[in-house]
């Protein structure tokens, strides 16, 4: 009976090819494959064919690209969904499959984790309890407490990258609920306040530092964006304290207080995330709860373009090589935009996979311009390839409460959650 069924089934002719060096010797053979075949069947088929020509070949996992999209379902469903021409020989591109992220560390933080950054194999994270937790790749953690009255830290940015295996001299800009941004430098395992940036009227939600580390921009609940001068030699934006004030706090070593260079208003609700434009130094992108992502010209202090979204945005990230912008909203769907194109308001792709709740944060993979990671209030993190919108690459489970922040750098994914843990995963 089974044989009878298989003969009735439709068959597709396909060939494999690849742009990767390792796979240069894929035999150019046309295969006749039943449409019920899935990725695993194709994997088996391809591995066996390569084995016939290459004796040293070891089985590997492949991903298959037909045109621009990944094959994730059976061939029949794929053909039906994308209306693929089956008359001609189907050309299938083979990409060596990404290995699943390996859990590396599970670090207990003293409080909810509000932000996480990765730089030079160090993971910096801030907590709502006023701690900065630093973890190196080996899992050694350093906990540094902020010496300040209001301890709710909300966001961070690295100003001076740590040297290899040495934290000393690292500078970190931290925004807090107390409306201040503080530039801390780590010396001898302790935090020292270098600068205090004062000017926001409500909690600072997001901060970003320019590539030459001389400027910082921050967004706040007060709906404003402020630009700060971080240059050590700059004196123009220093805040002149009144004499009485300086007297009372004489004992403490004073940190320099600065006021913003420029304040940009334009959002009508809380600014949730801010990023420097990677391809134009004086531009920046900010996302807000007012359903829009705005590109700003910071020199002119004006709006360049506004991307309207269907819901309130919670975060955004820009990709230098493709120029694409990935955003997350107060729903379960990360959305991909192309801010360079004129029709930037159109969603290029929506990634459906998270359960309910919000996607809290999205970040690109700096090593692969097609991949990004998203974390959600459904307690999971997911990695995605932009060529496959229907299903994620990998789901990272483990957090027991809402995941609030994520970072991807140096082949490490670090996610911080409301269950007071930072989980670190290693990717290929």
């Amino acid at each position: 009976m089974e044989e009878g069924d298989s003969t009735n089934e439709r068959h597709v002719q396909l060939t494999f090819f690849s742009n990767e060096k390792e796979l240069a010797d894929i035999p150019e053979v046309v295969f006749d494959v039943p449409t019920s075949a899935e990725c695993d069947d194709l994997n088996l088929l391809l591995n066996k064919t390569i084995e016939t020509t290459n004796d040293t070949w070891k089985d590997r996992r492949f991903e298959f690209l037909v045109g621009e999209t990944f094959l994730r379902t059976s061939l029949a469903e794929f053909i039906e969904e994308f209306e693929v021409e089956t008359e001609t020989v189907l050309k299938v591109e083979c990409v060596i499959g990404v290995e699943a992220p390996k859990p590396l560390h599970d670090i207990q933080a003293p409080d909810w984790v509000s932000s996480v950054q990765i730089s030079n194999n160090f993971i910096f994270s801030t907590t709502y309890g006023g701690d900065i937790v630093i973890v190196d790749r080996k899992g050694n953690e350093t906990k540094l407490a902020v010496n300040s009255a209001n301890k709710i830290l909300k966001c961070s940015a690295i100003v001076k990258k740590p040297a290899k295996n040495d934290l000393n001299g690292t500078q970190l800009l931290v925004g807090s609920e107390s409306q201040l941004l503080t530039l801390y430098s780590i010396e001898k395992g302790a935090l020292t306040e270098n600068l205090i940036l004062r000017g926001h009227e409500r909690a600072v939600e997001c901060v970003a530092v320019s590539s030459d580390m001389s400027r910082a921009i921050s967004g706040s609940v007060d709906q404003n964006i402020k630009v700060w001068n971080l240059d050590e030699n700059d004196q123009t934006t220093n805040y002149e304290k009144q004499e009485e004030e300086t007297k009372t706090k004489k004992r403490r070593k004073e940190a320099i207080t600065k006021v913003p260079m420029v304040t940009i208003g334009g959002h009508r609700d809380k600014v949730t995330d801010i990023q420097w434009c990677p391809w134009k130094t004086s531009h920046a992108f900010s996302s807000s709860w007012d359903h829009s992502v705005v590109e700003w010209d910071l020199e002119l202090a004006g709006e360049i373009s506004r991307t309207k979204g269907p819901k309130s945005f919670t975060s955004l990230d820009l990709n230098l090589s493709t120029g694409y912008m990935i955003t997350s909203c107060t729903d379960a769907v990360p959305r991909l935009y192309d801010p360079k194109s004129r029709d930037g308001t159109l969603v290029k792709n929506s990634f459906i996979g998270h359960q309910t709740g919000w996607v809290e944060s999205v970040r690109w993979n700096p090593n692969d311009s097609n991949q990004f990671v998203s974390v959600s209030t459904d307690k999971t993190a997911k990695t995605w390839d932009i060529r496959s919108s229907k299903s994620s690459l990998f789901d990272i489970h483990g957090h027991e409460d809402r995941v609030l922040c994520v970072a991807w750098n140096d082949n490490l994914i670090a996610s911080g959650s409301a269950d007071c843990t930072i989980k670190v995963f290693e990717t290929r």
């Binding site: 909810w112 509000s114 709502y128 709710i152 609920e177 107390s178 409306q179 009227e201 409500r202 909690a203 939600e205 609940v221 007060d222 609700d269 809380k270 949730t272 709860w289 819901k311 309130s312 107060t330 729903d331 309910t356 709740g357 919000w358 209030t377 809402r402 609030l404 409301a418």
Partner: protein
């Protein structure tokens, strides 16, 4: 060949009939045609005058076709076969055509099988017919009209007979009668015309019986759609007194008949046989059968009932697609956990919408960051918190808290803008609590970051006036002095109502004017606080009001009740609710109306929140709109309680609900 052979006879037949027809049928033509011929009659026996043209053939009016295969074409009157004349060959026909000058006027007669030569007369008739004229030769349809009798009066008589003599002589008979009457009058004998005796009119009771005027509507309709009474089925052979043997029951059949129920029997009698009609006894079921027949007639339908076959879905009101009414909250974002026991009340920070305050059974007031669901501050009040309310002024980080122990606290939350916190500190320090009169019922005290009021009764609810100076409180108990209005700037409290008008459940200030809506269990009263008068008393239709919320203009009130009812009162439309809904299966605990979006939410003990699209038009020509758009479910049940309070986010279309399970849920669009 065969087709040709058929064709020719057809032609011949048509022509021969057409020659006959005008003579036979057109009578008018016939007369005129015949007349001129008549005088020429010599002897009618000289020739055959009958219409029948060719009497030789006696086969009658049958298709000639039947004789096609025979060698004769019929029979003459003596019964002899009439032999078909020999068929002419084609050459012969052609020769004839060429030679015979009369060929064109020859017609083949199928009946006789010969060619007939048409006369000149017949040809002329045919020509007349072909050209659309009258077939009769020489007939003029337009002969001049001779009008013999006209409407005009002639002065001369038509005939010449003189008038008779009698016309000129008076009648003797008449003269005699007149002289008799004259004589009678003279003599006084003449009697006038007899007086008519008036006959007594008799009322005809049945006169109107036959007329249609006095019939009732139902009688008329019964006549129009007449439904005859059901007929009695006719008796069958089995009912005969002398049925055939097969109709009679044998033992088995009889037993079966007896065993079956009376209603189920096929026949309601047992067929029986009698020798003669004379021996048939009296029918014992006669009376019952007649009676049943009467019952049947009585119950028979006499009227055709028009039943409407309506699809039940058509009767539902036409609701718009909820997708067109977006945005409204659709899914649960997350829970904020921290309270132990019930979360009784929540309040949103005005304008920015970053902070949320909640009060719980555990005696704490918590301040949350809504974006992340993080509790950033906790105040321990020392008594179960019953109500919290953020000051409506965004510049003051002030929160009014009612908690058990007959207290109200007006706290400086210390969250938000540093500048505003300082201003609020200043404001609280300036509240003149020291200038209290002796014997005041409400005691004002000041602590480091708060003002505390001690009231004579436990407080159920606290609410601010839109300007942020006044706040009103409602007592839990059913007493006369249950409502107090407190003024922050003067630290004074007053009790506007001294008479008990019902158990006050909730109060709310008019959003723009110095008015107060007071909701007792079944009524809402609107008071003018400046003039101290009752403006309006509203009948809500709810048996136990639990929550009252005005819209931004104060023209509409939204009420929720413990009897599961929700009511929308439009104050301009009178004192009755504009809309009443019952969408919850359990008591409604709280109602909220969004400040920016046309959204309304009710939360209930059944663990669900109903979100309505509620658009208020200030334009009178448009009706307000109220459509249910979403039922949101969250929170676990604790002691049969689920959702206790709800508020809207001040900017976003997001709903926040407080649960009896100690969590606060955020629903986002």
């Amino acid at each position: 060949m065969s087709t040709k052979a058929e064709d020719i006879p057809k032609k011949g037949k048509r022509k021969s009939t057409s020659t006959k027809k005008p003579i036979k049928k057109d009578e008018f033509g016939e007369k005129l045609d015949v007349k001129p011929v008549l005088p020429k009659v010599v002897d009618e026996y000289d020739y055959d005058s009958s219409d029948e043209e060719d009497l030789r053939n006696t086969i009658g009016n049958i298709p000639i076709k039947w004789y096609d295969d025979e060698e004769h074409i019929g029979y003459d009157k003596h019964g002899e076969k009439i032999i078909k004349p020999e068929k002419k060959g084609e050459i012969e026909t052609f020769l004839e055509k060429m030679e015979d000058p009369d060929y064109w006027r020859k017609v083949f007669d199928r009946q006789s099988g010969t060619d007939i030569k048409l006369t000149d007369e017949q040809i002329e008739k045919l020509q007349n017919i072909a050209s659309g004229k009258y077939p009769t030769i020489g007939y003029n349809p337009y002969e001049p009209f001779l009008d013999i009798y006209s409407s005009q009066k002639e002065i001369h008589p038509i005939d010449n007979i003189p008038a008779p003599k009698a016309r000129f002589i008076p009648s003797k008979d008449e003269m005699r009668m007149v002289s008799k009457m004259v004589h009678a009058i003279r003599m006084g004998w003449a009697i006038g015309p007899k007086e008519k005796k008036e006959e007594k009119k008799v009322y005809d009771l049945w006169a109107s019986e036959d007329s249609m005027d006095n019939l009732t509507k139902s009688q008329l309709s019964r006549m129009r759609v007449h439904m005859p009474a059901p007929k009695v089925t006719l008796p069958t052979h089995a009912e005969s007194y002398n049925p055939a043997e097969e109709y009679l029951f044998d033992d088995d059949e009889k037993k079966k008949w007896e065993e079956t129920e009376k209603e189920d029997r096929v026949m309601n009698f047992v067929p029986s046989k009698f020798d003669s009609l004379r021996k048939v006894p009296q029918y014992d079921k006669f009376i019952t059968e007649r009676f049943e027949r009467c019952l049947d007639l009585y119950l028979a339908p006499r009227q055709r009932k028009m039943r409407i076959h309506a699809d039940p879905t058509d009767l539902l009101p036409d609701l718009p697609n909820p997708n067109d009414l977006r945005p409204f909250p659709t899914n649960l974002a997350f829970y904020m956990r921290g309270h132990k026991g019930q979360v009784r009340c929540i309040s949103m920070e005005p304008e920015k919408g970053e902070l949320l305050a909640s009060g719980g059974q555990d005696g704490t007031v918590r301040i949350w960051m809504l974006a992340t669901g993080r509790c950033i501050k906790t105040f321990d009040m020392g008594g179960e918190v019953t109500s919290v309310a953020f000051s409506p002024i965004a510049e003051r980080t002030m929160l009014a808290v009612a908690y058990e122990g007959k207290h109200i606290a007006i706290l400086n939350t210390g969250c938000g803008d540093k500048l505003h916190i300082q201003q609020t500190e200043q404001f609280i320090s300036e509240v003149p609590t020291d200038e209290q009169e002796d014997g005041a019922v409400v005691h004002w005290r000041k602590a480091k970051d708060r003002v505390t009021l001690t009231l004579p009764n436990e407080v159920r609810q606290v609410t601010w006036h839109a300007k942020g100076d006044y706040l009103a409180t409602v007592a839990v108990d059913d007493i006369a002095k249950s409502v107090y209005v407190h003024q922050m700037s003067k630290s004074k409290s007053q009790c506007p109502f001294t008479k008990r008008k019902g158990h006050v459940q909730a109060v709310v200030f008019h959003p723009t004017q110095a008015r107060l809506f007071v909701a007792t269990k079944i009524h809402v009263r609107e008071y003018d606080l400046a003039r101290c008068v009752l403006i309006k008393k509203l009948i809500t239709g709810i048996k136990h009001i639990s929550s009252i919320v005005p819209d931004a203009s104060g023209e509409n009130l939204f009420l929720g009740g413990l009897d599961r009812r929700f009511a929308w009162m439009d104050l301009q439309m009178g004192n009755k609710p504009w809309k009443k809904l019952k969408h919850h299966t359990s008591a409604i605990r709280s109602v909220a109306y969004h400040k920016k979006y046309p959204l309304l939410a009710t939360v209930s003990d059944d663990g669900s929140a109903m979100v309505y699209y509620a658009r208020i038009y200030s334009d009178f020509s448009k009706d307000n709109e109220l459509y249910p758009v979403k039922r949101l479910k969250a929170h676990e049940k604790a002691d049969d309680l689920s959702m206790l309070h709800t508020v809207w986010h001040p900017i976003q279309p997001w709903l926040i609900t407080a649960g009896a399970d100690g969590s606060i849920a955020l629903f986002t669009y």
